[in-house]
């Protein structure tokens, strides 16, 4: 477990420690330490690229909606709805209010499922001092079961509209392939009502965790909407005053590749930025429904916050929001005359942006007059968060204390990375921390 000196004296030391389980993605962390300073830090997202941007070329817009879901098994709905929205905007096809409302419900289902999973299976074990969710079954069974119930509710919400939770089959350009029957919806409304108090308990449960003191400056970026907590529509806004339409976003971005990662880095004004639950809550908490705001205002944790460890609370707040929004929108459900409006392809550039569970997802498709895709660009949330996560790791580990043992450093680094809920589209396995330590000239530190 603990690192050992490969050689004595001044020689650099290479230590390998298994790092991150409980993240969705294949990566590693390399750390060069010199005395009390990190001289190099690389978050390695080593997932082999599947080259989706080329794979999609030649497919019709209807098939693209189903294909992009396959980018991510944890947020397929986000990809489907963003793609559908992009094509609708280009084709001048305005989905009716019923479609817009039900898509928000569907999206709530995905937030609920994704966030409940992250809170309980990935993040909570760190705060509770157990190895993993299975370890929670001993002392925290009721909380685990509550979490799994909320997760199942999210799964079933997605199923209601798409038949299955992963790569659901319900969404099409123009609306949905079919509308759920009123009876099914009524049963779901009952379950959602019963889940509201559970979601409120969940929020208070997470806010009572003990959080490391780790405030850092960073720029939040999220969709903003004047009338609602933005999920499926809005302008792209930042805490630094950025306020652009989704069509203007690309001009602000700089994308680059680094040798240690297969996910491209993106920067805004040549600086890293944050997307995801904390970014959204920081920018949009005023738009939360009053019933959610009331709960938020009584928490011991602050909003807005600049401590990424509070992301578990932000996810819980969004779980509550998702349950309440789905309940509100389904309460007076009526079957529509038609679940979709017709879409007639035209050539041009289709742009879509929505808030995936892990943050802003932005897509651009160029299509020909038959709606066949000729060129694609995909900017997923984890790619955007990569730079911010590296910056955070550096600051957080230095504050934590580099004199600590490798095992402690690894544990802390894992927690920092988990705060971002990285989804390197594919779940992974070998996350390693490699620490190379060079004794600082004046350091007495034993470095283990």
């Amino acid at each position: 477990m603990m690192g050992q000196a490969a050689t004595g004296g001044q020689a650099p030391r290479q230590l390998r420690i298994p790092l991150l389980s409980r993240v969705a993605g294949c990566g590693a962390l390399d750390l060069d330490v010199e005395g009390e300073r990190i001289t190099a830090l690389q978050l390695r997202l080593g997932e082999p690229p599947r080259l989706f941007e080329r794979l999609l070329e030649g497919y019709g817009h209807d098939q693209v909606v189903d294909a992009v879901a396959r980018i991510c098994g944890l947020c397929p709905v986000a990809y489907q709805l963003t793609a559908a929205q992009a094509f609708e905007r280009l084709f001048g096809c305005e989905p009716p209010p019923w479609v817009r409302a039900m898509r928000r419900v569907l999206y709530c289902g995905e937030w609920l499922q994704s966030h409940a999973l992250h809170i309980h299976l990935l993040a909570a074990p760190d705060f509770l001092g157990v190895a993993d969710a299975l370890g929670m079954a001993a002392g925290h069974l009721a909380a685990l079961q509550r979490g799994l119930r909320l997760h199942a509710l999210g799964v079933d919400l997605v199923r209601l509209f798409g038949g299955r939770a992963i790569h659901p089959v319900g969404v099409c350009v123009g609306g949905f392939h079919h509308a759920p029957a009123p009876g099914e919806v009524a049963r779901m409304v009952g379950r959602l009502a019963a889940a509201i108090p559970e979601a409120e308990e969940l929020v208070r449960w997470t806010a009572a965790f003990e959080f490391p003191v780790d405030e850092q400056p960073f720029t939040s970026v999220a969709l903003g909407h004047p009338h609602e907590y933005a999920i499926g529509a809005g302008r792209i806004q930042s805490g630094d005053g950025l306020d652009v339409s989704i069509g203007q976003f690309e001009e602000q971005l700089a994308t680059s590749q680094v040798p240690h990662s297969t996910a491209l880095h993106t920067r805004l004004d040549s600086r890293p930025y944050l997307v995801g639950p904390i970014a959204r809550l920081n920018l949009n908490f005023r738009e939360l429904p009053p019933a959610v705001r009331v709960v938020l205002d009584t928490l011991p944790t602050p909003t807005p916050t600049h401590n990424m460890f509070h992301s578990v609370v932000a996810r819980a707040v969004e779980v509550l929001l998702a349950v309440r929004e789905a309940h509100r929108l389904l309460l007076d459900y009526e079957s529509p005359a038609a679940p979709a409006v017709p879409a007639h392809p035209i050539a041009g550039t289709a742009i879509g942006a929505t808030e995936a569970p892990r943050g802003l997802l932005w897509l651009r498709f160029e299509v020909d007059s038959r709606g066949v895709l000729r060129h694609a660009r995909i900017v997923p949330p984890t790619s955007q968060n990569q730079g911010r996560c590296e910056e955070d790791l550096r600051a957080s580990l230095e504050r934590f204390g580099l004199g600590r043992s490798d095992a402690e450093l690894a544990r802390h680094a894992e927690r920092v990375v988990r705060n971002y809920d990285p989804c390197i589209p594919c779940a992974a396995h070998f996350l390693r921390l490699r620490v190379t330590r060079r004794p600082h000239r004046s350091s007495q530190n034993s470095l283990t």
Partner: protein, 266 residues
């Protein structure tokens, strides 16, 4: 106390992570699983022991890098029974279509400023290209009920019984009106392996073959039927070459256009 319990490992190569998420995709499934198996490796949720011996290995994802080849052979060596779960593991998945593209080898160059930093195989391939696979679960993603069946079969010590029928049979059993016949909707149900419960036809849309080809199907016949609905040759080909990936039965579908004798009546 756990000496007699079967040891389970869940591993992922290249894919979207959705098939292993199916293991978490229900209120009780994970706890039930933990009650019946020793979960030795399932890094996405915690247990991390990639080289430990297991009785049952569930492997998702396609083999896409030289490192995958090596990892897969280690998983094979350490597992008594290896099950390929999902389209990527069974047939390469959507990403394996790169192998069919004339310029597929150029794609990394087109998308990455420094393709030399990537280490990819020529094309993503299914697990069986490199190791013996004891059982397969089709689908993109796999179906939860089929997964549970395979786990139960293993617990009971019996061999899983593969599904061979097409989706058409599920529609007939469920009484779903035929979309192809009644609405002229392009539907791949006649050639697609059953197992989803006719999810798409029940939801009012044509099947898009995410479970891959069924056994003994007439792909050329269906291709001709789709062409008779007004789909162009290229479009027919794209319907077949989709999420199941680069599979033999679908590879040439549509490539030769409508059959010379014209469309068949359904």
């Amino acid at each position: 106390m756990n000496r007699n319990r079967l040891r389970l490992g869940v591993y992922a190569l290249s894919g979207c992570g959705g098939c292993q998420a199916v293991l978490l995709d229900g209120e009780g499934l994970l706890l039930e699983l933990a009650g019946r198996f020793d979960i030795v490796h399932f890094a996405a949720i915690g247990p991390c022991a990639p080289d430990e011996r297991v009785d049952l290995a569930l492997v998702e994802g396609s083999v896409s890098t030289p490192a995958h080849v090596e990892r897969l052979s280690r998983i094979r060596a350490a597992s008594a029974c290896l099950v390929a779960i999902g389209a990527c593991a069974v047939s390469g998945g959507l990403q394996s279509l790169r192998g069919l593209a004339r310029d597929g080898s150029r794609w990394p160059l087109d998308l990455y400023p420094h393709p030399e930093w990537l280490d990819l195989l020529d094309r993503p391939v299914p697990l069986a290209r490199y190791v013996k696979v004891d059982a397969v679960l089709h689908g993109c993603p796999i179906d939860r009920r089929a997964l549970i069946r395979v786990l139960c079969d293993r617990l009971a010590g019996v061999a899983p019984r593969p599904e061979r029928r097409p989706v058409c049979m599920e529609c007939k059993q469920l009484g779903v009106p035929c979309l192809l016949v009644a609405r002229g909707e392009p539907c791949l149900g006649p050639v697609t392996r059953a197992g989803c419960g006719a999810l798409c036809p029940r939801g009012g849309r044509g099947c898009y073959a995410c479970f891959g080809p069924a056994d003994l199907v007439n792909v050329a016949g269906l291709g001709a039927r789709l062409a008779s609905l007004g789909l162009g040759q290229e479009e027919v080909a794209r319907r077949f070459r989709f999420v199941a990936g680069d599979v033999d039965a679908f590879r040439t579908a549509g490539a030769v256009g409508p059959a010379a004798h014209g469309p068949e009546t359904p």
